[in-house]
Symmetry: C2
Subunit: 146 residues, 2 copies
Amino acid sequence: MRVLCSSLLILFLVSFSSARGDETEKIRAAEAAMMGAAAERGAEGFMSFYADDAVELPEGEQAIQGKANIAKAMQYLNDKNNRLTWTPNKVDVSGDLAYSYGVYEFRSTGKDGKLSSSSGKYTTIWKKQNDGSWKVVLDMGNVSPK
Amino acid sequence: MRVLCSSLLILFLVSFSSARGDETEKIRAAEAAMMGAAAERGAEGFMSFYADDAVELPEGEQAIQGKANIAKAMQYLNDKNNRLTWTPNKVDVSGDLAYSYGVYEFRSTGKDGKLSSSSGKYTTIWKKQNDGSWKVVLDMGNVSPK
């Protein structure tokens, strides 16, 4: 029984460590899926990766509390002339919390057909939900120099 | 022995859950101590809470990689006319990762004695180090409306 106890503990620790790598891949996959969903389905696709109690910290604006309120601010993603893309530089996970940070690019085609773009940095906090899925609980960005 | 196994498991889970609350308090205490250290010792005090491999994501600038490079950008904290304060709105911890977000205020007294201030939002990622201390691995801010 004592051997069983020790074996279980070792198994637990090994699976714990390997799980961390798996979960990191899940976050990277979620970020890619979220970008695809935003391109295909606009604000609804983007917001489907947010937790109900998420907070958005937009540059030059007050914090926006809750998925429903954030969704209103994300309606610009429904305009097919706008395109938001991003690339994570780093992802780290521990238990039910994870974060990623990286660079984003926002491209917009004006009514004159002229393309404008801006780029910046972002940090996203992910939290594992009761159903095992990862959802965004915090998102923040700021602009980089031209 | 089976009872001992179950008891150990329950004890483990209980201490795990209570540890999460304790660690949250540690992050709040670290944020307060960091603010005090910045006020008293300037950039050196502020930077003493950063991990060596931290990244700073400053608004309008490129990402700054590593504590030594971030320290250079924080030299303005050595000017006693400058004062950076902040208040966390939320802290969450899981295992060796934690984050806080909240509001900051930057006050500066000009050469004419005139006080100017700006405020914004921040997100800080904390990571537990091998010695059990929590250090900043990522910090990001952006400005709020006047």
